[in-house]
Each structure stands twice: as structure tokens, then as C-alpha cells.
Amino acid sequence: MNDFLPIFVLLVLASGLVSLVLLISVLFGPRRRARNETKLQPYESGMRPIGPAQRRLPVRFYLIAVLFILFDIEVVFFFPWAVALRELGWAGLLSMLIFIGILEAGHFWLWRRGALEWEKMDK
């Protein structure tokens, strides 16, 4: 619990700083409403904005996100294992190598299938 106190302090400081900066800009910022329509436009490198800012992403990102979750779960298992690594010795290392081996087989398979390549999947 006490190990996490710095993180909490950081959260409080970060949110406090953000509120402070917003408050200052409200207090000291110009208050005149922009009548000019050009001033209300979002900035897009001096170009006239084309379409909405929130565009659709290619569906390929979904697969990347799913694969990321799977390998993220793998990493979570490393965490307690790594804390106890010294006393676990060779048996612990071997067990983790089997675990990684099974997952690497899947990783290798999806690599061979071309799932990690951006262009291969829809040609």
C-alpha cells in the first residue's frame, strides 16, 4: 500500500496542475467571442479542414488490438514469477520456458500466416 503512495501523489499533482492551468487560462484568457467563422475552425496546418476529425480506422487495427491483449496477459504472468525468480532456480526457469514455448508456437504460426503483415492479409 505504501509502495503505491507516490503514484497517488503523482495523480493528485497531475490533476491539480491540469485544473490550475485550465483555471488560469479561463481567468486571464481573452473573453471576446470569435465572430469570424475562420477562427472557430479546427487548425489543420493552414488548410481548410476536410471532413470530420474522427475518422474510421482500418479494421486491421482490431486484430492488432486482440493480439496485443493476448501477449499482455502473457506479460502479467511474468510479473509474480520474476519476483520469485531467484529462489525458484532452474525448475522455475524451465516452467516459464515451456509456457513461453507454447505461446511462441502460436506467435510463430500467426507470423507464418502473415497476420503481422499489413498488406498481405487482403490480397
Binding site: M1, D3, F4, I7, F8, M47, R48, I50, G51, P52, Q54, R55, R56, L57, P58, V59, R60, F61, Y62, L63, A65, V66, L67, F68, I69, L70, D72, I73, E74, V75, V76, F77, F79, P80, W81, A82, V83, A84, L85, E87, L88, A91, G92, S95, M96, I98, F99, I102, L103, A105, G106, H107, W109, L110, R113, A115, M121, D122, K123
Partner: protein, 233 residues
Amino acid sequence: MTLQQVIFIILAIAVIGSALFVVTTSNLFRGALMLIVAFFGVAGFYVLLDNGLFAVAQVMIYIGAISILIIFSVMLTRGMQAMIPRNAQAGSVAIAAALLFLILLLAFGPFRLVVDLSGVPILSALFRTESARVLGGVPWQFANREVPETYIADFGRALVDLNQFLLPFLLVAFLVDAVLAGAIYIARQRKPAEVIAEREAIAKEEAEELAALQPQPTAPTLPQGAIASTADH
């Protein structure tokens, strides 16, 4: 009030506030972003319960991966951001959910030691279900049990111990492989004609959307490069 209680109250306000925003907002994208705040608050609860491991897992899996997946899903789905969904049943659903929660809390929560609902005619059926046997059998802990200092190392040791959790641990790897295969199958290669037809339909709908969103029809024509850069995804 101790520091723990202050932190708990701040976290509770943040979690309940952001969770309420998630279920009431009509903007799905903002809802997905506020869900991250709620997840973070839950990670804070784990820290308060002296379970740093769960807090780390919560931040890594829920905030790091699942939130990203939800945000991607919103951004992948056409018209999801512009859509304004309306829910006319929100009030009645809220009342029904609150009532059900109250019944479950009274029936199976810590209060069941004080109030016995098993004699009430309609509710008695609830007590004959399998989940009642499971939930009712939970020995609720009120005592303040100390968490050992070495709990993360203990967990790591149990994970690779043949007599404890080595087999389930390795089965998790197979499970992850199975999910991997499923994800690849969903995003599999399709016939070129199928893909081309779908892309043409999407391009047509996007052009219609763009035409509807154009603020002034008399806007000067844009340079050719600007249009091409939005179309190449």
C-alpha cells in the same frame, strides 16, 4: 479520518462518477474514455486492499489493452461516433437493477445474518437455486486479515510448482493460443471479389457522409493531394 479513508472516498467518487457517465452519455467515444477512469479507480481499490499484483494486472490488461480494444471498436465502426442513440428505458432499467441489487444484497450479502428472507413466499424460490447454495456458502470476512509481505513471490512460486498451479498455468498458454487462432480466423483472408465489393460500398457511403458534412457547398475546390491522403486507408 485516516489517509486510507480519504483515498477511498476520492476513488469511490471517481469510479461512481465516471461509471455513471459511461452508462448515461450518448457519445460512445467519450464513454470509452471515461471507462478508463473507472478502471483506474478499481486498480486503486486493489491497492487499498493490499493487492498490488491485481492493481498492476488491472492497469496492464484493462487500461492498457481492453480499453484500447473498445476505443478501436468505436473508431472502426461506421457512424458510431456521429450516431446519437436514445434510450427511453433508462429509468425503468435503473429501478429494476437497483431492486434486484437490493434483493441480492439482503439475501446473500453480509445482511443475511440480520434479515432472513428465505421465508418470504416469492423469494424462497431464489434460495433453492444452485447459485444461492454457492453464494450463500461464502464465509464473509469481516476481520482485518493481514496480507503477507511476500504475497507476489508466493504467487509466483505457486505458479510454477507442479503440486500447485503449474498445470493450469500451462493450460492458460494453450487457451491464449486458441484465442489467437480464433482472432486470426475472424480476420482471415477473403476472396478478392468480396473485398472489392465491400470496399466500394464503404467508399460510396463515406462519400455520401462527406457530402452531408460539407459546411458550405460553395467552398473552393481542394488541392488534389489533400483528398488523396484521406482516401488511401
